[in-house]
Symmetry: C2
Subunit: 232 residues, 2 copies
Amino acid sequence: MSRSPLVTVDPPAPPRDLAELSARAQALVGRSVDELERRRSGRDAPGPSRERKGKVGQLVEQLLGASAGSRPEPDFVGLGIELKTLPLDAAGRPKESTFLCSFSLGDAERADWASSGLRRKLAHVLFVPIVHAAGERTIGEPLFWRPSSAQEQILRADFDDLVGLIALGQVEAVTARLGRWLQIRPKAAHGRVRTHAFGLDGELISTIPRGFYLRARVTHALLRDPHTLLDG
Amino acid sequence: MSRSPLVTVDPPAPPRDLAELSARAQALVGRSVDELERRRSGRDAPGPSRERKGKVGQLVEQLLGASAGSRPEPDFVGLGIELKTLPLDAAGRPKESTFLCSFSLGDAERADWASSGLRRKLAHVLFVPIVHAAGERTIGEPLFWRPSSAQEQILRADFDDLVGLIALGQVEAVTARLGRWLQIRPKAAHGRVRTHAFGLDGELISTIPRGFYLRARVTHALLRDPHTLLDG
DNA sequence: TAGGATCCACTGGTGGATCCGT
DNA sequence: ACGGATCCACCAGTGGATCCTA
């Protein structure tokens, strides 16, 4: 193994069970993200914050032994667990909604909750808070979450409403205000990428790519009470 | 009658019926507020906008023959009609919520919708839009509004919820976010004036004076459809 | 391009504060 | 003090735009 001023660390093997994954996540609590990053890369360069987008997620994936890469599958394949980092402010509130998956508008007609990738992703989630405070990022207490059946009803209702709207050709009526827990918002590598859907009269409509997101107020509530319903 | 460079106009007698009031309001449509103001006062001085607060309301009251003054009663006594000017932006959207009446927190225990002054005020309202566009204020198309029974249910429910909260001593829980159509917000001549109420444990609580307001989105919807329910 | 996320200009609403006239 | 209203600083959420790695 090559040596550099900062020792690099090999990614661990995939965790064999939930207990092992949990133990690894616990071991990260309180650690500095910048320091972990330096150790992984062997380099010393935090860089401006907007050039760090997405890196935290991949760092934590590696540290926990997720099957890295862009597979259509759970981060921890054998366990069926999806990993999500969650940026929190100093007061413990999520700073952003959580991206779940992209959604091709053309798929709306075929989509149904029971067989959706979204449902599979949300079936079992490991949230790892990234606490932004005093100019530093620290890893927080992890949360394993499985939606209760009452919670899943909310998710499914949102999913049906949103997908239904699009299937009916009301693409332009889809706003981020819709959905109690879920929302559909833009998600694009470049603002000019277009995807397609069919409008009210069956005409082809070109829109920007979108994705499903979990509202920040929902993740906030989940951190405090994993069984929350937030209102009903 | 004295002459001045700008002719002043005598306030008309109170309108005898709704038709007469309606005709007067119609006659103002499209007129410039500044010009009407100059004609009334005989002076030529619009002044900075923040020194004009409240004047529009009184100007229109005079022009329509309202029984001016701070009576606890409808602006048009015989007709039981309340006059409200409504500031609109260039797109026709209300710029502000509409002040309805002040509310002494101490009255909460006694208050009930059926006998409330608020209900009487809202029973029949003449809305006179003041359109703010291109640096000018113009009088818009008037709207006579009587709440439908479905609308009154919404108003009463809001009233009961808000007054109920206060009666229970939850004064500090009253936020402008509560209420579908109505809201309770601060209303004070000076920020330091205090009124009093009783807290959860019966202790005396000192709070700033508040009043009932009608949400801007409600007046907006009413202008487009006087029977709107806005959702249910 | 897909998965991992964060940035940011804008806007609508909140929570008061303020102003006029009687 | 009360009835007539408007002003404004701030904040949360929206609607995209942008960035990284594989």
